[in-house]
Amino acid sequence: MTVRISELSVVGPAGVMVEPLSATVEPGATLALIGESGSGKTLTAKSLVGLLPRGFTATGAAEVGGVALPLAGGESAWRAIRGRTASLLLQDPFTSLSPVHRCGDQIAWTVEAATGSRLARSERDAVVEARLAEVKLPARAARAYPHQLSGGMRQRVAIAAALASDPQLLIADEPTTALDASNQAEILDLLRAVQVERRLSVILISHDLGVVRGRTDQVLVMREGHVVERGETASVLAAPSHPYTGALIEADPVVAAQSGTRLSPAQPVEGELVVRVMGLEKSFGTHRVLDDVSLDVSRGEILGIVGESGSGKSTLARCVAGLEHEDGGTISIDGVALAPGRASRTPDQMQIVFQDPYSSLNPMMSVGAILAEALRVAGRDASEVDGLLETVGLPAQFVRKRPAQLSGGQRQRVAIARALAPRPRLLICDESVSALDVSVQADILRLLAGLRDELGIAVMFISHDLAVVRMIADSVVVMWNGRVVERGECRDVLTAPTHEYTRLLVAAALRENTAPQIGRE
């Protein structure tokens, strides 16, 4: 039942996207495909179930347990393979299930597709229940629509659906990336357990080295369509032979967190107080998003604000920025209390850098125009654009470019430059690196740290990822359900969390296994 891939290559309209690649996955073993955006890892995965986008073709050979995959075959050839021999699990459980069908039906379809006939009602219920039990979901989940389940539960349903007709190979394409940190480990462990139980071969695709560590046997590191490194997971991570792998490992916040690497100066500068938030309250309808939140940020300090989605951290940032109106409490800058809303604020008080670099720049304006506009509001001359670009590490010729011509990291640099243009006292980074590849992430983090050191700017750094925060923040505030549950020096909080929730977060951030590892060979 071994999976053998030999000389698999993917050609697209723009040329060869994946250079010939060979690999073997034993039953019950996991092969990790690691790479950043554009490395070709997803194309590789899709080529193994015949789902390449139009215009892309795969060559080479692949077999699963002796069954050759029809790499160049048509839809009908693939249908016999998909689900029964190889199955694909997608990244986002929010979109990979049909929103208007019940979960049980979606699982049953896989079975019906394999048998080619409709199941009787009772038989169907029994099959679905068994599959749900395998992913540790109660039978009643079959009656639920996807939106009625949490992200983690949805991904479990998706796993059950993907495995319902007992394939020998499961290709999991970033299966946990879209999930909250606390869910990620759970799903990975579940996958691992099922895999061991079924002696299933798994190809796990990820940009995240933390996911790979401890859960995979072999690893392939890909870059721009080439395999740059391969080997036993543990040995590759411990001693990378290719510089790119080394850089990836170094840039990975999890690795960095475990190794204790930090971008902050050893001793935080004792700066004057810039922002003071006191007893902030905010509700959306009856839902209380912020409950008596207080914090201070000083000049030259990076305050990490950590919490999962829904913890209120973004709302906090938006209240400080004036993009939301708080219901109660005070926000003061340099000792001056600000009324809620933008009207009472000036651009030089605070600026914000958003998460998504793709939508935070006006697509119709050139980089130069965007920055010049930001300079103008602060009374600065447009000629300072070049200097601004230099500050964020971009060459001067970027002035003429439009956002569409830039990569994600470059865009985020432009966004930071724009935020810096009015010389704000406070920079708010709302998940500003979460959407970036790890290597880019590290660059941006270094940039922010450098800015803090050079400009002495105060930074509120909001992230769901403790590992990232750990790399850059001086002090940390942990939020949960709209409340601050823990605060303190970054190092202290992360090494010795006192609150139960913080402990959970820390564990998740380090991608630690929460379940006992069974049957590892």
């Binding site: 697209g12 723009a14 996207m17 950043e36 955006s37 554009g38 490395s39 070709g40 890892k41 194309l43 986008p53 990244q91 986002d92 979109t95 394409d173 970033e174 990336t177 879209a178 695709i205 940009h207 721009e224 369509g225 920025a321 993009l323 933008r342 604020r345 000036t346 651009p347 600026q351 914000i352 958003f354 998460q355 998504d356 939508s359 935070s360 720049l361 006006n362 697509p363 119709m364 304006m365 506009e373 930001a374 509001v377 590490g393 439009r402 956002p403 569409a404 990569s407 990291g409 640099r413 966004a415 724009r418 935020a419 009015p422 979460s434 959407a435 970036l436 590849d437 880019v440 660059d443």
Partner: protein, 299 residues
């Protein structure tokens, strides 16, 4: 390591699916030949509208007491109409009236849409409420039906019809622009502009508006086609263009009386209307796809 990695547009980075690159959506690309043909048709039609009166200065004032001739008659390749006027000349001369109205309707409706839609979508509050109720009201009325009632009651006429169609077409423009503005307003770059304390006018018209242009332009192009059809339909019902004006819709309506004597008197203007409307539709779709592809790269 700030260079983009690879040329593939497939991304696996954790973005919401809506932010996917262009390969996620693959609009059918109009075949360039077809679009070129459509552009050519529009070019000729608008050329005729602009200069038709120079080519045939007296198309309308030809001796109107002559007789009807079938196509292929000497001097009248397409024959003459029910008043003895040359169909070819009339078709060229009729372009202006046939196209001017629809173009003005499309532009007028676009202007309404841009101004009201942007205000409603960005300012929200009472303006949004008022504008939305207004569009609700108008959308509860089928365009053609409302046009019949109003034109019929007030005696029709060209400019009455133009104004009427602007009013009746504008709700869809307003809605489209409003929805686009709403969508754009929620994007971080607008909040970034707010962080710079830019005036709301600057935010609305410098930042948001250029980003909904593709919607606006596409819809305007499609409106030209719809207005062309609406004009001719109203003329058919006797409430659109008055007689005495060279106009395809009017020609089509009047020419039906002599269908068997000179079929060209009917089919020529009908063909022109359909061909121009098809061309406008194709070009509208094409512009929409091109502009939205530009947009997709950046989204």
């Amino acid at each position: 390591m700030t260079q983009p990695l690879g040329a593939s547009s497939l991304t696996t980075s954790p973005q919401p699916p809506a932010l996917r690159g262009p390969s996620a959506r693959r609009p059918r690309r109009r075949r360039p030949v077809l679009v070129a043909l459509a552009l050519l048709v529009l070019g000729i039609a608008f050329g005729a509208a602009a200069f038709g009166s120079l080519i045939f200065p007296d198309a309308m004032t030809q001796d109107i007491l002559a007789s009807q001739l079938p196509p292929g008659s000497p001097g009248h390749p397409l024959g003459t109409d029910e008043l003895g006027r040359d169909v070819l000349q009339m078709s060229v001369a009729g372009a202006r009236s046939a196209l001017l109205g629809p173009v003005i309707v499309a532009l007028g409706s676009m202007a309404c849409g841009v101004v009201l839609g942007t205000l409603a979508g960005y300012q929200r509050g009472w303006i949004d409420f008022a504008v939305s109720r207004w569009t609700d009201l108008l959308l509860a009325l089928p365009v053609l039906l409302a046009a019949i009632v109003v034109s019929g009651v007030f005696g029709g006429g060209y400019w009455v019809t133009v104004v009427l169609l602007i009013v009746l077409f504008s709700p869809s423009d307003i809605r489209i622009v409003r929805a686009g503005v709403l969508e754009q307003s929620a994007r971080p770059y607008i909040e970034a502009a707010q962080m710079l304390s830019l005036s709301r006018w600057r935010v609305m018209f410098r930042h948001i508006l250029p980003n909904v242009t593709s919607l606006v332009v596409t819809n305007a192009m499609l409106n030209v086609a719809f207005a062309l059809v609406a004009f001719s339909s109203l003329s058919f019902l006797g409430v659109g263009v008055s007689p005495g004006i060279a106009d395809w819709g009017r020609q089509l309506t009047d020419g039906r009386a002599i269908m068997f004597v000179n079929p060209a008197a009917v089919f020529m203007p009908a063909l022109l209307i359909v061909v121009v409307a098809v061309a406008a539709n194709l070009v509208g779709d094409w512009i929409g796809q091109r502009l939205s592809r530009v947009g997709e790269d950046v989204r």
